[in-house]
Symmetry: C2
Subunit: 341 residues, 2 copies
């Protein structure tokens, strides 16, 4: 039985091996992805992001436990840690998580030490999520650390994105959230037993107000921006949930918010729109990779290096070098062939 | 006089316009970059990164003032803010900075609202740095926010990378630094008048110890990792500088550390190595872009969309679609032409 067949049958060891092949972007991994693709498109991908110190990992832990208890759904967690590109810090995290969840066959946790560029991370995360999806995991949680561009890239993968906050992390950190708020489908204030929780909630509400869709009206020919009194119909307003992940308080409410968001995605047509956007950017990235590989294979030996030497000596600009190289591989036009006897 | 000529003559308005053309990746911008390239390679690119709350922007402000006062060097600042991909938060920052530095013709500050992917940000930052370099700015400071992958990408551009810390930001945040430490050439503990500064310094020193090169020895046939007693000769050990950016304390020492690092880069051959690595990855990225553009132009109308439709319906995987599409544009082989009459 092939590895993909074993994965489809629920073999955890095979799944683990396949995830490694896919993470390493090996030829077998790519072939398996192609084979599994027709089995995908069923999982609910949930992104969980927030600054360090918000207790995000404990929250993910609780979400998994709750999904297992309530719905008996199969749950996978992909823990991405883009803040630590060099150290393989993922291993310890795994062990800590495993305590609560070990022995449960319906749960699979995978840590990804983020190597390479953010584009690469998002691409690998998407591929791992597809494997879990094909393997029958109905909930795939993608956990990211930090407050950077990577969260945004990964949020584009997820159907539902949770942004986790906590009281008392300082105003600097709150300020940073202005951008991250716009990717939030569900907001969670964790550590809600801490002082300052009302302040955090107020700050979030006013940030949400600011982010609310505005309309543009014209007054005496001048454009004015007017805040909508009511949000337009069929708009999702991110709910704010309060939790204490260490004792599980509020987790059920978060699960409810996620379910409601899923419902909204389905009825509004957003689900399809997000799926299409996701598959489009995945395909585009793969086309780019394929073109570059073909190009490098077709290039005469040493051509790339000798163009680079001219760049190093500042006699050719990188742009000119790129155009020159790209032309090197241009298809032979019929005219060129005609000139030959 | 062309825009690039005006920029080379020191016209600030022309510089500002050119930066916008380059940031928007317009055809004029690309042409100007190619034209200016032979004037580049002189500036010292300094990356400054660190978490929010470390007072990084004040530090950059002080560095600029000091460079102007001490050496009369022309200084440019590129402020990249990847944490806020959607909001144009850069404008306010500009105004705050401008107070101290306005009226000084030897200083140019440019904020970049980070749009698109991190790869894109690094590429645009590199392009802006080249414009400043050609325009005669001897120091180009690239300031980034957050602790993510983007810092690493941008650090690859810089000759010297400063990592800024501050006491009392919590252990979570310290932990995150494990990865960022490895890109640091100079460490700065800002807000050094705050309690906990000794703790922060100790933590940094021990992290640096951990990051020190190790050798692998064999004992009874088993590999053992042994910490080097002394760092190998010609190794740069990041100095730790303490500053209070609000009153300028310690800034002169930081400038000294940066100068020493520059000296080290020159004598060790690292300067050339970094320049080559930078230009190589820039050229590669441009080749990728050029190939994709050529490919899309050569593709029959609607071919991309119809392949995507098959992906959306899950009858073709993204990988298969990419391979199929990339083959569509393959050069006509001589054999194919021969079969025609």
């Amino acid at each position: 039985m092939s590895l993909t067949q074993q994965v489809l049958k629920g073999n955890r060891l095979a799944l683990s091996r396949l995830l490694t092949l896919v993470e390493n972007n090996s030829p077998e991994g790519r072939a398996a992805l192609a084979e599994l693709f027709s089995h995908t498109g069923k999982a609910h991908l949930i992104g969980v992001t927030g600054s360090p110190g918000t207790g995000k990992s404990s929250l993910v832990n609780q979400l998994v436990l709750q999904y297992r208890k309530m719905d008996q759904k199969k749950v996978a967690v992909i823990a991405v840690d883009p803040s630590s590109p060099f150290t393989g810090g993922a291993v310890l995290g795994d062990r800590v998580r495993m305590r609560d969840l070990s022995g449960d066959d319906g749960v699979f946790i995978r840590s990804m030490a983020s190597r390479g560029s953010v584009g690469g991370i998002a691409q690998t995360t998407a591929a791992l999520a597809q494997v879990f999806d094909a393997a029958g995991y109905e909930i795939v949680i993608i956990e990211t650390v930090g407050a950077g561009q990577s969260e945004v890239e990964i949020a584009r993968l997820a159907h539902t994105t949770l942004v986790v906050e906590a009281p008392g992390l300082g105003d600097d950190i709150q300020a940073i959230k202005a951008g991250i708020l716009e990717i939030a489908d569900v907001l969670v204030i964790n550590k809600a037993d801490r002082p300052g929780v009302e302040h955090t909630e107020r700050a979030l509400r006013s940030s949400l107000e600011l982010a609310r869709p505005v309309s543009r009206v014209y007054h005496h020919g001048q454009a004015m921006t007017v805040k909508a009194h009511k949000p337009p119909p069929n708009t999702w307003i991110p709910p704010i949930n309060k939790t204490i992940a260490t004792d599980g308080s509020g987790i059920a409410k978060v699960i409810e918010s996620i379910a409601k968001h899923m419902q909204y995605l389905r009825t509004s047509g957003e689900w399809n729109a997000r799926e299409r956007a996701r598959l489009r950017s995945e395909t585009e990235a793969l086309v780019r990779d394929t073109l570059m590989t073909q190009f490098l294979e077709g290039l005469p030996e040493g051509a790339f290096e000798s163009a680079l030497e001219r760049v190093f000596s500042h006699s050719l600009s990188p742009i000119e070098a790129a155009q020159f190289l790209a032309q090197t591989e241009r298809p032979q036009t019929p005219r060129a062939t005609k000139e030959q006897p």
